[in-house]
Amino acid sequence: MKKGIGLFMACMLAFSVMVTGGCQSKGAQESAGAKDKAPASKYPEKPIELVVHTKPGAGADILARTVSDILSKEKMVAQPITVANKSGGSGAVAFSYVAEKKSDPYVLLAAQPTLVTTSLKSGGSNFSIKSFAPLAGLAADESVVVVKADSKYKNMEDLISAAKKAPKAVSQGGGAIGASDSIVGHLIQKATGVTFNYVSFGTGGEVPPALLGGNVDFIVANPAEVKGLVEGKKLRIIGVAADKRMEGAPDVPTLKEQGINVVYQSFRGIVAPAGIPADAAAYWEGVLEKMTKTEAWKKYLKDNSLTPSFMKSADFGKYLEEQAKIYEAVMKEMGQLK
């Protein structure tokens, strides 16, 4: 009897390992819950994989889940869309995975500037910006300059004049060098001729606490990252790197208004592997455009302080090429590229 129990428990454990090992795709498929019957000859005919280069919970992940969620709830896509997280190597793992699926129209990728910067850096490996077919640009994430609420820097002028006093007198906290916030910092330095003391933190989540604790003087962030803290009066935004003021924050002046000619937006969009059939690309372009008109999407934009900015695939493609050139130049200046 005792023998039996022991063996039984052991087999149960082994079985559950195998089940949960295969559980990833199973669980997520059940959850998408879309209609299961598609018109037989039309695309898409199989479930679709939407790849994300970050761990769950990060901005790109939330974007991907929101897209898949809205498309299935509003029954805009007949097949379930599974979100697959493949984090690692600043996105290299996810990007090379998708690039290798050339012309496979059942794999999509949530795209952010990291796609451009990592593609540029991985020279020699198996993907470049040309490995991806643009489907649509969906939104733009602004960059804001943030200080502690009780900081002595009340606006950009205070910050820059303090920085002018001595090189590295003012410290900026941010992610790894090469990430968006470091790029914005670099652009501000170029435009004003100052040098900041850049302190790099690992994951994005460690940056706001560093500012809160007074360990750095300012950070550059996406509005959503600091929204709660700004409303809670712990942090303050002193400038936004955009052409016009944000709708959700009309009393925050732009950097341009304060004499600093820096504009920076992080795009958010969807791409597919290069070489997919034209009708598949057109399908997604249409479906995604419809999605941006839904209430659920508009709520997502508002909750995450994103700026609506829909681009069809041709425009998005041109935009990506321009971005690649800009990033290449900036990264060479920053010493990230030879």
Partner: protein, 500 residues
């Protein structure tokens, strides 16, 4: 105080609704299961189940996800104790004494102690979360890179206490861990180190792969040298639960584990793993008979298990009080909260009191559920150790290989785990302790990052570590712990010669 009471009572009202009770139960159950399986951790599970919760009430959803979180920190100890396989990095410390206890026939006592300690510490951390979350969070953000470096440095010095009989071998093992920790992308400059050009190693060697290889695979390899027993182990399984003496011995461990775990958990970026390391090391350091550690000291299970559960409550502090995620699991919870339209930040508690108190009350209930589920099961699990090795070891290998593969759905990690299995085997044969290596592997990269950040902030001056009060205190504490045995000896010999 009255505010807290009304809030809590309101919260219990919400938490005992049948749906929420069910969610808590599901969360604890899945969490324990997932924690026990090496490779799949709480953050992956929370990620998988997050979409399932869409459409549910946000409070119910977070109740389940939180249950997974603290269920998993307990679950990791099951395989740690029974099979020397840490199911989760925070369970590595439990293998040291837990597995020895299991080999002595006291698996039930070890598992039971883990459950009890997790309950006590988990409840403590929920109480603390409830009472002092906002001021605690404000204090925690004052911890900048110099303070983190201090704590991590403290953890690294505890390596000498994990060395077993030979301190030198312990140090060698620790240095190996530091070296392995340098593989990956340089934290400040962004270029790759020792990654052989492979994208796979860009983030370093995954800790869980090293732990599984070193502990589990090596254990199997070492044991198959002896003729394998093919019958069940005879002899009594003494005591399926901890004895009164065990509980009494562990009183200090409960307290220390709870405090250390909660406090470390609050710090964003430090979590259950570091908490369990520190708790074990400090427990051994303050023990009156430290030589028992590593050979089946029950406090060696009570302290780290308590600490890692207290750390989950602690990690909720920055999440709820400031909207800052302290670990990858809380980051996913945060993402979930955003998707439900909540605005995590200092105003969360006042804007969504039902949510906050509902989740807090449910965490109390969840801790009780864990205890009730797992104490009886401790006896059942313990019987697993009586399975014949010819069945047990292939199963261990199966778990480990599947676990390694499941990390990234790739065979690369499987090769890595086998490599470390061989390394672990060599270390065991040559009598090098394993724990310092894994400790240094986790703490080394963090120490390097904190050091670089601190020196950048101070423009290269080391004075920053002593000019900041908290950092100075931590460093003093570290030196006291390191050198006090020496001082004691000097003091004692002085008194002896003075008296003679």
């Amino acid at each position: 105080m009255p505010d807290v009471l009304t809030g809590l009572l309101n919260g219990f009202g919400i938490a005992v609704q049948p749906m929420n009770l069910l969610m808590a139960l599901l969360g604890c159950f899945f969490g324990t299961l997932v924690g026990a399986l090496p490779g799949i951790g709480p953050s992956a599970t929370i990620a998988i189940l997050l979409p399932v919760t869409f459409g549910m009430d946000p409070t119910s959803a977070i109740i389940m996800l939180a249950g997974i979180y603290y269920g998993a920190t307990y679950g990791g100890s099951i395989t740690s104790i029974l099979m020397n396989i840490p199911g989760d990095p925070s369970a590595v410390m439990s293998t040291l004494d837990g597995y020895k206890l299991a080999q002595q026939g006291r698996a039930g006592a070890a598992l039971g102690m883990a459950a009890i300690s997790s309950f006590i510490a988990g409840t403590f951390s929920v109480v603390a979360l409830m009472l002092i979350a906002p001021p605690m969070a404000d204090f925690a953000v004052r911890f900048g890179p110099p303070e983190y470096f201090g704590i991590i440095f403290l953890g690294l010095t505890l390596i000498v206490y994990l060395g077993g009989r030979s301190v030198i071998k312990g140090l060698v093992s620790g240095v190996m861990g530091l070296v392995i920790g340098t593989v990956g992308v340089d934290p400040m400059q962004g270029f790759g180190r020792y990654d052989f050009g492979s994208v796979r190693l860009a983030d370093g060697v995954p800790f869980i792969v090293v732990a599984m290889g070193l502990f589990a695979i090596a254990e199997v390899l070492v044991n198959i040298e002896n003729p394998l027993k093919t019958e069940f182990i005879s002899g009594k399984l003494s005591g399926l639960l901890p004895t009164r003496k065990d509980l009494a011995d562990s009183r200090g461990a409960f307290l220390r584990g709870s405090l250390i775990g909660f406090f470390v958990g609050v710090l964003p970026g430090a979590g259950a793993t570091i908490a369990s390391f520190l708790a074990y090391g400090i427990e051994k350091r303050v023990s009156k008979s430290p030589e028992r550690f590593g050979n089946g000291a029950i406090e060696g299970v009570a302290a780290p298990e308590g600490a890692n559960n207290a750390a989950t409550g602690g990690a909720m502090v920055p999440l709820f009080a400031l909207g800052i995620p302290g670990s990858s699991s809380t980051a996913i919870l945060l993402g979930g909260m955003i998707m439900y339209g909540m605005r995590p930040g200092p105003l969360l508690i006042s804007q969504n009191p039902d949510f906050f108190w509902g989740v807090v009350a449910s965490m109390y209930i969840g801790n009780v559920m864990l205890l009730v589920m797992n104490l009886p099961l401790a006896g059942v699990f313990a019987r697993l150790t009586r399975a014949p090795y010819s069945v047990l070891y292939p199963m261990i290998l199966l778990f480990v290989l599947i676990g390694a593969f499941s990390l990234n759905n790739s065979v690369f990690e499987v090769w890595l785990v086998l490599l470390f299995g061989v390394v672990g085997y060599a270390m065991r044969k040559l009598d090098y302790p394993l724990a310092p290596l894994v400790l240094a592997l986790v703490l080394g990269p963090m120490a390097e990052k904190a050091l670089s950040q601190s020196l950048t902030m101070s423009h290269g001056s080391m004075a920053i570590f002593v000019s900041r009060p908290i950092s100075a205190v931590i460093l003093v504490l570290t030196f006291v712990m390191l050198f006090s045995p020496l001082f004691k000896k000097m003091w004692a010999s002085r008194r002896a010669s003075a008296g003679a």
